[in-house]
Amino acid sequence: MDRQGNKYTFLFALAVCVVCSLALSLVSEGLRTKKELNVALDKKKNILKSVDLREPLPAKAKAQDILNVYAEAIEETVVDGQGAIVKGKTPEDIQEGEEFYPLYIYKEDGKVIAYCFPIIGKGLWSTLYGYFALEPDAATVRGITFYKHGETPGLGAEIEKDWFQNDFKGKKIWDIKNNMLMPTKVVKGKVADQVSAEQAPFYVDGISGATMTSKGVTAMVDKWLKAYEPFFSKIRKL
């Protein structure tokens, strides 16, 4: 057949398409369960990281160990828009568009040690996914993690580094004096240079060169703290 003719060209293009798409879909389907397991494991690892376990996981913990610790320490619940815990529902049951929010409660010996919930929001290039954990007083930050993002390495990607995440620990989200919610804000530069000592507990250091990512973090913490506020305001009244 004429190698430059239209018929050959079309047939060749068709063959390439079929082979490529067949190979891709076969591999994608064949590895699906394994991929989903990995994603689920990674989520659990990050929930455990954000609640700051009393006995931290070893750096090279095996998958099964992580699952065991998770099953023992974390209680998966769901809260509704009014802040009431929904009985008999788990985070997996939540359908898109429903006003239900997943809540992970870290308990040890029956006592609540931390409340953890997912935070999702836009950075500069990508959507940031993470978890935010509060102490049982519902006013102090216990931890924050980011497990998925596509920000610039060295700039926005610093959100996954310990120095940035650890800065949140012990910050306040509730202003006792004025009795109002104060979601943690990321400042431009250093907290010590930007805000008064009195305000410092509500702010964390920014990432230089990553203003938009920092703003994104501020916005998502604000958004999700407000979404869970009906629940946390009840905790605070207890």
Partner: protein
């Protein structure tokens, strides 16, 4: 052995790709990604390895098909092969090396659109036998990685005071007023370093653009 595994001519292909015809300093390809991933040494290393593998494999595949590809649609065919290969590799990483794939996910798109891959397919693999094309891919990938690593070492040590995350600038200097060069973390820092590297490399290799 009657014939060495890699003949003299084959060795020349690798050397030429790495030095005389280095993809960045001579062909000026792949500049976009060399700006994007060189803020830290680790990402530069990962990108270097990934790109070397992709260039070598796609060169090999396209070279095997080179006599069957209709010239009218050759670019599209090349692109399909490259993207299929990259996505396949990404899928396997997601299933078996999840942590690595999380690091790499940003680069997958960058590799598919990297000019070096397409450039070598067009310039070399379409006209040369498979094994030689494979070597050309390895050589170009290594040449690209070498420049990337140089730029990244400069940017990370000057911009953040670290290498692979470890502090290399002694605290002593900071105590005496040394400050990290913030510009090195941003893209312009890479431009300056790249320019200097291209200058030095061309001065040694003696290449000059025709005026």
């Amino acid at each position: 052995m009657a014939q060495a595994l890699i003949s003299k001519k084959d060795r020349k292909i690798i050397k030429e790709a790495m030095w005389d015809h280095n993809p960045i300093t001579f062909q000026v390809l792949g500049i976009c990604s060399s700006l994007a991933v060189t803020a830290q040494l680790k990402t530069a290393l990962v990108m270097g390895v990934a790109l070397t593998l992709v260039t070598a494999m796609s060169n090999l595949v396209i070279s095997c098909m080179r006599n069957m590809i209709p010239s009218k649609i050759r670019i599209i065919v090349q692109l399909s092969v490259v993207s299929a290969l990259v996505i396949l590799a990404d899928q396997f990483l997601k299933a078996y090396m999840y942590d690595v794939s999380k690091q790499l996910s940003v680069f997958v798109g960058l590799i598919i659109t990297n000019c070096i891959v397409m450039g070598r397919l067009e310039a070399f693999a379409m006209a040369n036998p498979p094994f030689r094309s494979f070597l050309d891919g390895i050589g170009n990938g290594l040449g690209y990685s070498a420049i990337l690593i140089l730029v990244a070492i400069g940017r990370e040590s000057l911009g953040s005071g670290t290498l692979l995350g470890f502090h290399v600038v002694p605290q002593f200097l900071y105590d005496h007023g040394y400050v990290n060069c913030g510009m090195m973390v941003l893209a312009p820092g890479a431009f300056f370093l790249l320019g200097i590297i291209i200058w030095i490399q061309r001065a040694i290799s003696g290449y000059a653009e025709e005026s």
